[in-house]
Symmetry: C2
Subunit: 341 residues, 2 copies
DNA sequence: GAAAGTTCCTGAATCGATTCAGGCTGATTT
DNA sequence: AAATCAGCCTGAATCGATTCAGGAACTTTC
């Protein structure tokens, strides 16, 4: 068909063409300052002419380190996580690191599949927004020399580094805001409860309710996933109740749920938001502001989370003796129309 | 901590423990039916006991094939692309393939960086939603035995397989719909124009205008990117015009732009959508339905696109002689309130 | 019973980049 | 002039999985 070497050039070909040894070529590639300027030139020219590209497999094999990092994400459709990934990617390109991407969709089996895969790939490290409890699995990775950093989730026992947002505090702030604006019958919408953040946000909500100086009721409406569809389904369920049983505010465990709720509640003007019912979400995804009724939310510094997580991961990969550290960002209350008529 | 070798077990360790040769272990792994049941058992037990995991680097080095595929995405924040990736991932897990993910953010330099990286990684193939013209680059990959499939973009010269949606037709359908609902002064909002889809959608819009049996005006409002922010900026610019110069409909090159436009136009009730101005987007991302005014859009079968693209990629990787084929899906008009008062 | 097959297994060679002990050259010191 | 040193280079050994020619043990065929 067309030009171009059908068989890729190896370091040996480059060495031959440049008239030096393979060791020298490798040195040019990895520590050019230990090689004479003349050799550097010749080698670089040969590389150019042959279109040589380093074979990462060979490199990795010989004890080298991988230039990929695995990222296991809970929900790849959620703009919050896309943003986190984006942050990690940004930091990654600065270190010439690529991201092996895995979306688990709140599924244990997929989580395992991806971790296995990353292990086979001998990635430099793994970023993971875990679904359930995976410390055992991570221990094993570590034993293999693969670092791991938890994302969006505090590491309970402190055995692994983590980068997260204080979900309990976020839950408290959200519900305090609802109470401040006069709401008393609050429903927490979220699930499944083996997602740690869901529990934490609910716990925070309860704290706020207990600390209030008026009686505040917290009801729990469980969902099977954190999606727009599940939110809409939960909303539909609320609508079937007699009017006097409606809560006067909803705290959704994330924005996708909140958007789903919003969508189903205001359809046909069934319910007025925020007059009859206030809604607040969590994450402050870009679409929250563009919603039918702009959505109040607890903002997380998503890109920063991704960036920080990758940075810490690389540091730990470089120094396996380093001590696990927990980085916790604070959420920020963003008030929009859905809670402030 | 429990057992777990601090140093990963190799195939040799497994062989020793199972009392067989390395060749046999490899055979158990790759063609178990050529090995006696007894050996298979012993080897599997040894693998279990040692926690052995295949080293993909070594495997790749020895002429094997990679189990990763690169995916270069134009805009990772766009839910449309997340959906496409998700589709590819779905198909990938069925073949035990992981995705190396790269987000170019409409940037040539990043595009190149990722392609280099994928080449070093010797990925099985590359899926790419290209920004500009990259056939030269893809030719080179192909010469190295790396297959490539274009995503969301028709391969003009037919040298590569592609999976896309008929953007010209989509543009035509969108504008025909606007015309059908009585609009005559239509603005196309999109850019930059070196994104092929933008051109195509505009071209389709023009066809619709010319075919109409009333005079229809198509104005072009250029944006620098396809984001919510740019859409909002374009909307703000429209608002500065004297009222009589306002278009009566907007066709946005994608939903993000449309959402931005919507957001900026309806703020403070400056403009009534759809009464004064209709808006239609492209992609039908999940958030389009949840927008302030539910957004009409041209739906693309995003997951299907991803799935199909990966399937074709794997087929081509398996058979380098195969002929490039163009798969074109048809877009579907989804009418919501933003175009039908 | 010899020849010809089967079935299953062995172990050395291989892929390509990196590393490192050792060597060569010319400059500097004693 | 010998000894020392710096600067630069060489090339064999190495990583771990795969492959394949060769061979052992056992059956079947004539």
């Amino acid at each position: 068909m067309k030009g171009g070497a059908p068989v890729p050039a190896s370091i040996r070909d480059v060495a031959q063409r440049a008239g030096v040894s393979v060791g020298t070529v490798s040195n040019v590639l990895n520590r050019p300052d230990e090689v004479s300027a003349d050799s550097v030139d010749r080698v670089n020219r040969a590389i150019e002419e042959l279109g040589y590209v380093r074979n990462d497999a060979a490199r990795k094999l010989r004890g080298g380190v991988s230039s990929t990092v695995g990222f296991v994400v809970l929900d790849g459709q959620n703009p919050f996580y896309t943003d986190v990934v984006r942050g990690a990617e940004d930091e990654g390109t600065r270190h010439n690191i690529a991201i092996l991407y895995g979306n688990t969709d709140e599924d244990h089996a997929r989580e395992k599949v991806y971790l296995d895969l990353f292990e086979e790939q001998q990635v430099r490290g793994v970023l993971i927004a875990p679904y359930g409890d995976i410390t055992a699995r991570l221990q094993r990775l570590r034993a293999r020399g693969i670092a791991a950093v938890l994302v969006d989730r505090f590491s309970g026992d402190g055995r692994f580094s983590s980068v997260s947002v204080d979900s309990v505090r976020g839950g408290r702030m959200a519900v305090e805001h609802l109470i401040d604006t006069g709401r008393r019958r609050i429903a927490f919408v979220g699930g499944p409860f083996d997602i740690r953040q869901v529990n934490d946000r609910l716990a925070g909500a309860r704290v706020a309710a207990e600390n209030a100086n008026t009686p505040v009721e917290i009801e729990v409406i469980a969902t099977r996933a954190m999606t727009v569809e599940e939110g809409a389904a939960a909303g539909a369920r609320i609508l079937t109740r007699p009017r006097r049983d409606w809560p006067d505010a909803l705290f959704a465990a994330n924005d996708l749920l909140a958007l789903g709720l919003l969508q189903s509640l205001i359809v046909d003007g069934r319910m007025l938001v925020p007059q009859e019912i206030a809604i607040i979400g969590f994450d402050d995804i870009p679409f929250a502001a563009a919603a039918a009724v702009p959505l109040s939310s607890m903002r997380q510094p998503s890109r920063m989370i991704g960036r920080t997580a990758l940075r810490i991961l690389l540091e730990e990969a470089a120094d396996p003796e380093s001590i696990a550290r927990q980085t916790v960002f604070q959420p920020e209350l963003i008030v929009r129309r859905s809670t402030s008529g």
